[in-house]
Amino acid sequence: MDDPAVIDKLQNATVGIAGAGGLGSNIAMALARAGVGRLVIVDFDEIEESNLNRQYYFLDQVGKSKLQMLKQNIDAAVRSCDVDIIERKLEAGAMSAPFGDVDVVVEALDAASTKVKFIEECLTDLDVPVVAASGVAGWGGSERVKLTRSGKLYLINDPESLSSDEGVLLAPKVGLLAHYQANTVLEIILGVEGGR
Protein backbone atom coordinates (compact mmCIF):
# COMPACT_ATOMS: atom_id res chain seq x y z
CA MET A 1 0.00 0.00 0.00
CA ASP A 2 1.35 3.45 -0.89
CA ASP A 3 0.94 5.93 1.94
CA PRO A 4 1.24 9.52 0.60
CA ALA A 5 2.21 10.90 4.03
CA VAL A 6 5.06 8.37 4.34
CA ILE A 7 6.27 8.99 0.78
CA ASP A 8 6.17 12.74 1.38
CA LYS A 9 8.12 12.63 4.65
CA LEU A 10 10.82 10.41 3.14
CA GLN A 11 11.06 12.48 -0.04
CA ASN A 12 11.60 15.62 2.06
CA ALA A 13 14.25 14.02 4.30
CA THR A 14 18.02 14.42 4.02
CA VAL A 15 20.28 11.75 5.52
CA GLY A 16 24.05 12.18 5.97
CA ILE A 17 26.25 9.09 5.70
CA ALA A 18 29.89 9.06 6.80
CA GLY A 19 31.61 6.28 4.86
CA ALA A 20 30.72 4.41 1.66
CA GLY A 21 32.11 0.98 2.49
CA GLY A 22 30.24 -2.13 3.64
CA LEU A 23 27.88 -0.24 5.90
CA GLY A 24 27.59 3.03 3.99
CA SER A 25 27.04 1.64 0.46
CA ASN A 26 24.31 -0.72 1.65
CA ILE A 27 22.66 1.92 3.87
CA ALA A 28 22.64 4.42 1.01
CA MET A 29 21.04 1.97 -1.41
CA ALA A 30 18.41 0.88 1.14
CA LEU A 31 17.46 4.48 1.98
CA ALA A 32 17.36 5.49 -1.70
CA ARG A 33 15.10 2.55 -2.53
CA ALA A 34 12.88 3.35 0.47
CA GLY A 35 12.33 6.83 -0.99
CA VAL A 36 14.62 9.15 1.00
CA GLY A 37 14.87 12.31 -1.13
CA ARG A 38 18.46 13.36 -0.50
CA LEU A 39 21.65 11.71 0.71
CA VAL A 40 24.91 13.47 1.63
CA ILE A 41 27.70 10.89 1.57
CA VAL A 42 31.34 11.44 2.52
CA ASP A 43 34.22 9.08 1.62
CA PHE A 44 37.65 9.25 -0.02
CA ASP A 45 38.30 5.66 -1.07
CA GLU A 46 38.54 3.70 -4.29
CA ILE A 47 36.87 0.32 -4.84
CA GLU A 48 39.08 -2.75 -4.38
CA GLU A 49 38.12 -6.22 -5.53
CA SER A 50 38.31 -7.42 -1.91
CA ASN A 51 35.45 -5.00 -1.07
CA LEU A 52 32.99 -6.87 -3.29
CA ASN A 53 32.23 -9.59 -0.73
CA ARG A 54 30.10 -7.05 1.14
CA GLN A 55 29.99 -3.61 -0.49
CA TYR A 56 27.39 -2.45 -3.04
CA TYR A 57 29.75 -2.26 -6.03
CA PHE A 58 30.48 -4.38 -9.09
CA LEU A 59 33.52 -5.98 -10.76
CA ASP A 60 33.72 -3.40 -13.54
CA GLN A 61 33.88 -0.62 -10.92
CA VAL A 62 37.12 -1.83 -9.27
CA GLY A 63 39.70 0.99 -9.12
CA LYS A 64 37.07 3.72 -9.40
CA SER A 65 35.85 6.20 -6.80
CA LYS A 66 33.41 4.63 -4.33
CA LEU A 67 31.28 7.75 -4.15
CA GLN A 68 31.02 8.25 -7.90
CA MET A 69 30.10 4.60 -8.40
CA LEU A 70 27.63 4.62 -5.49
CA LYS A 71 25.88 7.62 -7.02
CA GLN A 72 25.85 5.84 -10.38
CA ASN A 73 24.41 2.67 -8.81
CA ILE A 74 21.70 4.59 -6.95
CA ASP A 75 20.81 6.56 -10.11
CA ALA A 76 20.54 3.25 -11.97
CA ALA A 77 18.12 1.91 -9.33
CA VAL A 78 15.75 4.78 -8.48
CA ARG A 79 14.56 8.15 -9.82
CA SER A 80 13.70 9.85 -6.55
CA CYS A 81 17.01 10.32 -4.71
CA ASP A 82 19.48 13.22 -5.02
CA VAL A 83 22.94 12.03 -4.03
CA ASP A 84 25.42 14.70 -2.91
CA ILE A 85 28.92 13.26 -2.77
CA ILE A 86 31.78 14.81 -0.84
CA GLU A 87 35.08 13.15 -1.73
CA ARG A 88 37.36 13.80 1.17
CA LYS A 89 38.72 12.29 4.33
CA LEU A 90 36.94 13.34 7.53
CA GLU A 91 39.51 15.25 9.57
CA ALA A 92 39.35 15.36 13.37
CA GLY A 93 37.96 18.71 14.48
CA ALA A 94 35.76 19.14 11.39
CA MET A 95 34.11 15.73 11.10
CA SER A 96 30.55 16.99 11.49
CA ALA A 97 31.02 19.88 9.02
CA PRO A 98 29.56 18.15 5.91
CA PHE A 99 26.37 17.32 7.81
CA GLY A 100 25.16 20.77 8.86
CA ASP A 101 21.84 20.53 6.98
CA VAL A 102 20.85 16.86 7.38
CA ASP A 103 17.98 15.40 9.44
CA VAL A 104 19.86 12.29 10.59
CA VAL A 105 23.56 11.36 10.54
CA VAL A 106 24.69 7.78 9.96
CA GLU A 107 28.12 6.61 11.14
CA ALA A 108 29.38 4.04 8.63
CA LEU A 109 33.12 4.31 9.25
CA ASP A 110 35.70 1.58 9.71
CA ALA A 111 38.25 2.10 12.51
CA ALA A 112 36.88 2.19 16.07
CA SER A 113 38.99 5.26 16.86
CA THR A 114 37.44 7.16 13.93
CA LYS A 115 33.95 6.01 14.92
CA VAL A 116 34.40 7.34 18.47
CA LYS A 117 35.82 10.67 17.31
CA PHE A 118 33.06 11.10 14.73
CA ILE A 119 30.28 10.27 17.19
CA GLU A 120 31.74 12.62 19.81
CA GLU A 121 31.96 15.50 17.33
CA CYS A 122 28.47 14.95 15.91
CA LEU A 123 26.87 14.70 19.37
CA THR A 124 28.67 17.89 20.39
CA ASP A 125 28.27 19.98 17.21
CA LEU A 126 24.94 18.86 15.70
CA ASP A 127 21.43 18.74 17.09
CA VAL A 128 20.28 15.69 15.10
CA PRO A 129 20.18 11.95 15.84
CA VAL A 130 23.32 9.88 15.11
CA VAL A 131 22.89 6.23 14.08
CA ALA A 132 26.11 4.23 14.58
CA ALA A 133 27.13 0.58 14.29
CA SER A 134 29.64 -1.68 16.03
CA GLY A 135 30.43 -5.38 15.73
CA VAL A 136 30.03 -6.05 12.01
CA ALA A 137 32.59 -8.86 11.67
CA GLY A 138 31.85 -12.56 11.43
CA TRP A 139 28.67 -14.48 10.66
CA GLY A 140 25.66 -15.90 12.50
CA GLY A 141 24.60 -14.62 15.90
CA SER A 142 21.96 -12.35 14.34
CA GLU A 143 19.97 -12.44 17.59
CA ARG A 144 22.84 -10.68 19.41
CA VAL A 145 22.45 -7.53 17.34
CA LYS A 146 20.57 -4.93 19.34
CA LEU A 147 19.73 -1.24 19.23
CA THR A 148 20.73 0.73 22.31
CA ARG A 149 19.74 4.36 22.59
CA SER A 150 21.45 7.02 24.66
CA GLY A 151 19.97 10.45 24.02
CA LYS A 152 20.64 11.40 20.40
CA LEU A 153 22.90 8.35 19.87
CA TYR A 154 21.39 5.17 18.43
CA LEU A 155 23.92 2.31 18.38
CA ILE A 156 23.31 -0.91 16.46
CA ASN A 157 25.64 -3.32 18.19
CA ASP A 158 26.76 -6.92 18.37
CA PRO A 159 28.67 -6.70 21.66
CA GLU A 160 30.30 -10.13 21.20
CA SER A 161 31.63 -9.62 17.68
CA LEU A 162 35.35 -9.47 17.01
CA SER A 163 36.80 -6.32 15.49
CA SER A 164 37.57 -6.28 11.78
CA ASP A 165 41.29 -6.63 12.62
CA GLU A 166 40.58 -10.09 14.06
CA GLY A 167 37.43 -11.22 12.27
CA VAL A 168 36.30 -11.57 8.66
CA LEU A 169 33.86 -9.12 7.05
CA LEU A 170 31.09 -10.72 4.98
CA ALA A 171 27.99 -9.42 3.21
CA PRO A 172 25.26 -10.97 5.40
CA LYS A 173 26.45 -9.67 8.79
CA VAL A 174 27.61 -6.28 7.45
CA GLY A 175 24.32 -6.02 5.55
CA LEU A 176 22.33 -6.97 8.65
CA LEU A 177 23.80 -4.09 10.64
CA ALA A 178 23.62 -1.72 7.65
CA HIS A 179 19.94 -2.44 7.15
CA TYR A 180 19.28 -2.23 10.89
CA GLN A 181 20.84 1.25 10.75
CA ALA A 182 18.75 2.19 7.69
CA ASN A 183 15.58 0.85 9.37
CA THR A 184 16.39 2.95 12.46
CA VAL A 185 16.78 6.02 10.23
CA LEU A 186 13.26 5.39 8.88
CA GLU A 187 11.93 5.12 12.44
CA ILE A 188 13.53 8.47 13.28
CA ILE A 189 12.12 10.17 10.16
CA LEU A 190 8.67 8.59 10.22
CA GLY A 191 8.17 8.06 13.95
CA VAL A 192 7.61 4.79 15.80
CA GLU A 193 3.81 4.91 15.41
CA GLY A 194 2.49 3.11 12.36
CA GLY A 195 5.80 1.33 11.74
CA ARG A 196 4.32 -2.20 11.87
Partner: protein
Protein backbone atom coordinates in the same frame (compact mmCIF):
# COMPACT_ATOMS: atom_id res chain seq x y z
CA UNK B 1 27.49 6.34 48.32
CA UNK B 2 27.00 4.55 45.03
CA UNK B 3 27.12 5.24 41.33
CA UNK B 4 25.62 3.29 38.43
CA UNK B 5 27.86 2.12 35.60
CA UNK B 6 26.01 0.57 32.67
CA UNK B 7 23.19 -0.27 35.07
CA UNK B 8 25.44 -1.89 37.71
CA UNK B 9 25.63 -0.44 41.22
CA UNK B 10 29.21 0.42 42.20
CA UNK B 11 30.81 2.17 45.18
CA UNK B 12 31.36 5.89 44.80
CA UNK B 13 35.04 6.78 45.20
CA UNK B 14 35.73 10.44 46.00
CA UNK B 15 37.89 12.08 43.33
CA UNK B 16 37.89 9.10 40.98
CA UNK B 17 38.36 10.06 37.32
CA UNK B 18 36.73 8.39 34.31
CA UNK B 19 40.12 6.83 33.40
CA UNK B 20 40.42 5.29 36.87
CA UNK B 21 36.80 4.12 36.83
CA UNK B 22 37.33 2.36 33.47
CA UNK B 23 40.35 0.57 35.01
CA UNK B 24 38.36 -0.36 38.14
CA UNK B 25 35.57 -1.74 35.98
CA UNK B 26 38.22 -3.71 34.00
CA UNK B 27 36.84 -2.21 30.80
CA UNK B 28 39.76 -2.97 28.51
CA UNK B 29 38.17 -1.85 25.23
CA UNK B 30 40.31 0.97 23.88
CA UNK B 31 37.50 2.87 22.15
CA UNK B 32 34.54 4.01 24.21
CA UNK B 33 31.89 6.71 24.32
CA UNK B 34 31.29 7.86 27.93
CA UNK B 35 28.35 9.81 29.28
CA UNK B 36 27.86 11.07 32.85
CA UNK B 37 24.19 11.70 33.64
CA UNK B 38 23.52 11.84 29.90
CA UNK B 39 26.31 14.35 29.17
CA UNK B 40 29.06 13.29 26.78
CA UNK B 41 32.65 13.30 28.06
CA UNK B 42 35.33 13.67 25.37
CA UNK B 43 38.00 10.94 25.38
CA UNK B 44 40.74 13.55 25.83
CA UNK B 45 39.08 14.60 29.12
CA UNK B 46 38.84 11.13 30.72
CA UNK B 47 41.95 11.68 32.89
CA UNK B 48 40.65 14.97 34.29
CA UNK B 49 36.93 14.29 34.63
CA UNK B 50 35.43 13.26 37.96
CA UNK B 51 31.78 12.69 38.91
CA UNK B 52 29.42 13.12 41.84
CA UNK B 53 28.01 10.54 44.23
CA UNK B 54 24.90 9.05 42.61
CA UNK B 55 26.14 9.64 39.05
CA UNK B 56 24.73 7.47 36.28
CA UNK B 57 27.57 6.58 33.91
CA UNK B 58 27.23 4.97 30.50
CA UNK B 59 30.20 3.34 28.81
CA UNK B 60 29.58 2.29 25.20
CA UNK B 61 32.41 0.49 23.43
CA UNK B 62 32.90 0.35 19.68
CA UNK B 63 34.79 -2.22 17.63
CA UNK B 64 36.33 -1.65 14.21
CA UNK B 65 34.61 -2.64 10.99
CA UNK B 66 32.43 -0.98 8.46
Amino acid sequence: MTIRVNGLKKDFVEGETISKLLKRMKYVFPMVIVKIDGELVQNEDFKATTFEDGAVIEVIHLTSGG
